[in-house]
């Protein structure tokens, strides 16, 4: 996917071309989850991986910002999708802070165009499911490139939440349990090239015509930072800072109204007392 022309063609075909009626969701859903060798040069550093993730999170955060503003949902669906959108924004914040603290330059927010995704509740949620599943696969596919264990743990933590999103939105859509809500007993990684092909249709024409801006996923970021591990202590404080951003988002969320019956059942890591089963 190094040829911008191909990206443009892909977008035109899938979003504004003859196939527009099956546009964004299908563009993602058409992903072939086959196993394939990833190029060893896909990511030159942890910062490259983080910028790759940041690009995807930017896309997701903006997707939900627009989708949740479209007035397509109500009740529990609206509440769940609002939480999903907050999560994606928290991921953007955390990744940005982490990249900065590592001395890298965060990619800029890409220009996006989600086509017909917000035409209806069904198209919104369907695109959401495919978006989330691509996110899950992308994180898993990139995990092996992450060298710093602290960053790896943070990325894994985001990956798990994307899997939650995918499952719950699929539930809302009434998709079949296996093959819809779940994708088997093991998550499937997706290599970088396939992920980029999947999100290419959402990149706006101005971006394509003018060449890939710094925020585009094509290069994974242009970081000049080496993989020098001398910053291990720094990396630790980085993760702490990024975690603070996430924590702030969590606090903000918990102040907001939650669906009835919300529990803190997830607090098994608290004092341990709540973890007894």
């Amino acid at each position: 996917m190094s040829n911008p022309f191909l990206l443009r063609q892909s977008r035109q075909d899938l979003v504004h071309g003859q196939l527009s009626s099956v546009a964004p969701a299908t563009a993602l859903g058409a992903l072939n989850h086959r196993w394939a060798l990833a190029a060893p040069g896909d990511f030159a550093s942890d910062i490259d991986v983080l910028n790759y993730a940041l690009t995807l999170e930017y896309l997701e955060a903006e997707f939900y910002r627009q989708g949740n503003s479209a007035g397509l949902l109500s009740g529990i669906e609206a509440q769940y999708l609002a939480q999903v959108g907050e999560d994606e924004q928290a991921h953007v914040t955390a990744l940005t802070q982490t990249i900065q603290q590592l001395g890298g330059t965060p990619v800029e927010q890409p220009w996006v165009d989600f086509g017909d995704a917000f035409a209806s509740r069904d198209s919104y949620l369907t695109t959401s499911v495919t978006f989330e599943n691509v996110g899950v696969g992308a994180y898993l596919g990139a995990a092996g490139f992450i060298q710093d264990k602290t960053i790896l743990a943070a990325a894994a933590g985001i990956f798990g939440v994307e899997a939650r999103h995918a499952a719950v939105v699929a539930m809302l859509l009434g998709l079949p349990a296996e093959g819809g809500v779940y994708r088997g007993a093991f998550e499937t990684p997706i290599e970088k090239a396939e992920v980029l092909a999947a999100v290419a249709p959402f990149l706006a024409p101005s971006q394509m015509a003018g060449g890939m801006p710094s925020g585009a996923p094509e290069t994974g970021g242009g970081s000049t930072v080496s993989t020098d591990r001398s910053g291990l202590i720094t990396a630790g404080s980085v993760a702490a800072l990024a975690a603070a951003g996430v924590a702030a988002a969590t606090v903000q969320r918990r102040r907001a109204d939650r669906p009835a019956g919300v529990t803190e059942s997830a607090d098994v890591t608290g004092d341990g007392s709540s973890a007894s089963v």
């Binding site: 939480q83 092996g144 499952a167 809500v181 093991f186 529990t263 098994v268 089963v277």
Partner: protein
Amino acid sequence: MRRKMFGGRPVVEFQTGLQRREFLRLAGIVGVGAGFVAGGVLSAPAAGAATVPGSRAAALAAIETSDLDILNYALTLEYLEADFYATGLQSGLLTDRELELVTPIGDHEQQHVDAVTAALTAFGGTPVAKPKITYPAGTFASRDSFLQTAAQFEELGVTAYHGKVPLIKDADVLAAAASIAGVESRHAAVIAALLQGDPFPAPVEKAASEEQVLAAVTPLIS
């Protein structure tokens, strides 16, 4: 690149990562062509493992003891989950959509048991035996108690895996654990949604130490 994940410690190395991966594929431990990515998953557990020549299987003992311990820790938790769902689903507490959504969870947990067992064996480890499990009275008395316990199990499983992610040394073990952890996250979210609870308790999954997890499950096992 993946060599660095061994922390520079000496390991029995295959000539190339691809060679090792090829063996793992034959052993059914990782997916075909997982290659450089940490994409190896236990996608075909057990299948073919018995056909692997013993001499080559022994080479897989290259992973560190600490990774074997982590796999056995995971196996214990998966045993618990698999048994829990098998027991609960046999109790006939669920119907319709709930039954459809929870039945695959039980299947997944059993596949995790099988896959982790196969991996441990292939890596030269000794899989722990399934523990004797005793559930608190009333666990399977009602749909609510079943699902509420399931929610706790799933959140515990998620945090347990995430507690181990930064400690795993071998890239293939990491990939396998992560691919399982993501599925546990789906389970946790689905169960929470069925209970009208909170499927997204935090923007990033939490992590629990082994001590915290064992404190929670020890009362159940012997």
